[in-house]
């Protein structure tokens, strides 16, 4: 009789999906430059590892950021005792300021609306608990982060209804597709409570323009449903145009602010997934108050709050960090996509995120998800790279893969590229000229000005970047 719950024994945790299979393969045989040079290289993990030296330098210069050092221990007791779910005031202020800075200070965030959660994972679940009852649903544009299946649905009983986006228009969300998904749900008697967008997008690495966001806001207002904007990649925008946040757009259009909620985190922008700093920022007072009570189930460790408060209230550090991070992401992305294009592999043009949305449709034996899985197994087992197949992101077209580039050093990336190159050559997929070391070094001393004044046009016209329309790509059938 003492069965365990259905939630516990069911598959709602979503870990039987392919997204996690690759991780398992990686874990049994992880790459290491000296110990395991033939191991699987992890390119399925959206982590930002490019700026740790920068942060560590700051930490060495600011020992008071830790409550355990001689300089910080005077705060140990009060911090260790602090369990108020409002959060340490300095922490909220610092996070609100950081969020504003990441949006170019075009918008201000109110520290009193900052609610903590156990990472963005905890934030999403909390928002779902606040906005929907079991059986109700959120619209989510595809492709989307596989974790949403667990975070929004598992323990809440809420459903997800996909809004299909496809490559014909670079996977952009259209009002037509939103309307269509909404009406289909209505016909099936599913009550839609909200729309969840990830902006910048995971896995696409793109973000929405102001026009699209305005249309989306009009849509949710018209339908009187919530808009949840997951903006956890906001500071990973490494190239113009500037990121536009929902928080900016609602200042410009008529909008019922009770419908607007933002999910944020420091896991991607700062590279701190281990510290579990998730934030719910809602413009709805009732939701803010309720979420704050719910945050008891996933408060941020006060030790971490103190560290983050100290770090993020340092204006100079933040300004430098944001600029430096952007520059390093830009360089890494540019090199990676260029090198891939040399091998005849292209990806969706992107200017944000820690990954690219790689187009391997031409490598499929046939246009099916089975073929995608076959190709994926080959990539894991033969090429020895863990990448994430598009089907795990609920992509409706087979052949797309998310490949992360910011979670490794440049040498590992070179090795990954050479493995891909060898694979392509072996399979006669491309006539690849011998790798020219000079190409890499001479290209691109890019100095990214703080105001991101570099125009997109310059980029497109550069001969070193291959667009999907390149004749080299179309050479294969």
């Amino acid at each position: 009789m003492a069965a365990i719950s259905k939630i516990a024994t069911g598959n709602g945790h979503g870990e039987n999906s392919a997204y996690f299979d690759g991780w398992k393969a990686y874990e049994t045989n992880p790459f290491h430059p000296t110990d395991r040079p033939d191991g699987v290289i992890q390119m399925g993990l959206a982590e930002n590892q490019l700026c740790f030296d920068f942060i560590e330098k700051w930490l060495m210069e600011h020992p008071e950021a830790s409550i355990c050092t001689a300089e910080g221990v005077s705060k140990f007791k009060e911090t260790a005792l602090f369990q108020d779910y409002h959060g340490i005031p300095e922490f909220r202020q610092a996070v609100a300021k950081f969020m504003g800075k990441v949006r170019g200070d075009r918008v201000k965030f109110d520290p009193d609306r900052i609610v903590m959660s156990g990472g963005a994972t905890g934030a999403h679940e909390m928002v779902a608990f606040c906005l929907a009852d079991p059986g109700e649903a959120f619209l989510v544009p595809t492709p989307y982060y596989p974790g949403f299946d667990r975070d929004l649905r598992w323990r809440t009983g809420v459903e997800l209804v996909p809004v299909v986006c496809d490559s014909a228009n670079d996977f952009k969300i259209t009002i037509d597709s939103l309307q269509s998904a909404y009406h289909k749900a209505q016909e099936a008697n599913i009550k839609i409570k909200g729309l969840l967008i990830t902006n910048p997008s995971n896995p696409l690495g793109t973000f929405m323009d102001k026009e699209t966001l305005k249309n989306i806001i009009n849509f949710v207002n018209e339908k009187n449903i919530h808009l949840i904007g997951d903006e956890i990649y906001a500071a990973t925008v490494f190239m113009e145009p500037e990121f536009v946040s929902i928080s900016e757009v609602i200042e410009e259009v008529e909008c019922n602010r009770d419908l607007i909620h933002i999910v944020y985190s420091l896991s991607k922008d700062m590279g701190f997934p281990g510290f579990r700093v998730g934030i719910v920022y809602s413009y709805n007072d009732t939701v803010t108050s309720c979420a704050r009570k719910m945050s008891s189930f996933g408060l941020v460790s006060s030790q971490t709050q103190h560290l983050i408060a100290t770090m993020l209230s340092n204006d100079e550090f933040i300004d430098n960090f944001v600029a430096e991070s952007r520059e390093r992401l830009f360089k890494r992305h540019k090199y990676f996509t260029w090198a891939l294009s040399q091998i005849g592999i292209c990806s969706l043009k992107s200017n944000a995120g820690l990954f690219i949305w790689m187009d391997l449709r031409k490598l499929l034996k046939e246009k099916t998800f089975e073929a995608e899985m076959d190709l994926w197994r080959v990539i894991i087992d033969e090429v020895k790279l863990n990448v994430s197949p598009g089907s795990s992101f609920h992509c409706h077209e087979p052949g797309w893969f998310r490949v992360c580039f910011a979670n490794m050093d440049i040498n590992s990336m070179e090795i990954a590229l050479s493995r891909i190159r060898n694979f392509m050559v072996k399979n006669n997929e491309t006539m690849v000229p011998p790798r020219n070391k000079l190409w890499r070094r001479t290209s691109l001393k890019l100095s990214l000005s703080r105001s991101l004044s570099r125009k997109m046009d310059d980029f497109i016209m550069s001969p070193s970047i291959m667009s999907p329309q390149s004749p080299l790509v179309q050479a294969r059938t």
Binding site: A2, G119, T286
Partner: protein, 469 residues
Amino acid sequence: MGLLSRKVTCNSHGQDSSYFLGWQEYEKNPYHEVNNPQGIIQMGLAENQLSFDLPESWLAKNADAAGFKRDGQSIFKELALFQDYHGLPAFKKALVDFMAEIRGNKVTFDPSHIVLTAGATSANETLMFCLAEQGDAFLLPTPYYPGFDRDLKWRTGVEIVPIQCTSSNRFQITAPALDEAYQQAQRKNLRVKGVLVTNPSNPLGTTMRRDELDLLINFITDKEIHLISDEIYSGTVFSSPGFVSIMEVLKDRSLEQTPVWERVHIVYSLSKDLGLPGFRVGAIYSNDPIVVAAATKMSSFGLVSSQTQYLLSAMLSDKKFTKEYMAKNHKRLQKQQSRLVSGLEKAGIGCLESNAGLFCWVDMRHLLSSNTFEAEMELWKRIVYDVKLNISPGSSCHCSEPGWFRVCFANISEDTLKLAMQRLKSFVDSVAINNQNHQELKNSRKKFRTKWVFRLSFQSFHDREQDER
């Protein structure tokens, strides 16, 4: 259509209860020795503030753990990236060893069976999600920690059915009370999935005796249900009888290979035993690998910060530190508890004899104007607003008898405690004088006798005279 979920609009977060109202009053007018000596003294907060000097001096001697270093090398990056829900292995090992140490090493724990969560708050909720469906019930002995109403019920949809315990036997759980609770659940069409006990008890401050634990094991075996033992105060046992963990009893009865073994789960935390509530370190320990697996995945919603795991793994692996901490902490708790008990005695107030926890379960029944919960609320309001002490009324803990209050002692200094007791004595004296005057003035037909109530031991409990009302 309702714009927000039912969870938002209902009251299951429990924060309209008096337990929290007292806190709010305190926050408006908090006592401070120098800045606000007339303010409200916080005695409603079960925190341990008596032993901070110990971790602080440990930190001074262990710079590496303090500064994100291992052997002098920075491991900041490694920690910042570590988000594996299996937890830092070194921390889990140190934690289970610490748990064993608290239990006199009479039981040992396997690190692969422990799941780390963001505080016991999250651990309790997660266990509910794992063990019960919406509409199922857990039986809880009263009085119980008010937070359970939120933690166990709010987002899970699980119900709590009380096992009524009374002062007639020191609020111990009895077989008839268990049966009655079970039947009550059935009458309400609720499927009982298990029993949850807090041992040592909050708010009673007592440890469960072996016969009680045996009774529970027999009950859950018979009904084939789960038992959750919330043992977050296990490290605060400062006098005899010692702490007996449910695991120890199962072991002593050689029940490891039987079905009941996998239906017993422990909740732990470092908030009370180590006095670190801000760090959000909780844990679930289960003998059932399916529960461990499910809870581990669920812990994604509230992992322990890797920064904190690292610091505490270093601290708890230092056996010299843990031994010293436990010994000194126990002594300080015992001393402070004695001060509270004797202070209450001087005011003619008794309390349940206790050997653990950060609070006493205080008997103020004789101060009630009537044997009702309304009278308890009246008395509570006077204590908060007039006596300026925030204490927790028994009704907020679902106690079945009016007149009991939980009074915390470990979150204030000796001097503040002394002051609190003085205020209380003045209050009680004034009540006595008022009553006397009232009598003389009114010439009431009913005799009203106050009798100084002495420190209640188990033997004298039954001897205590009931005041006539």
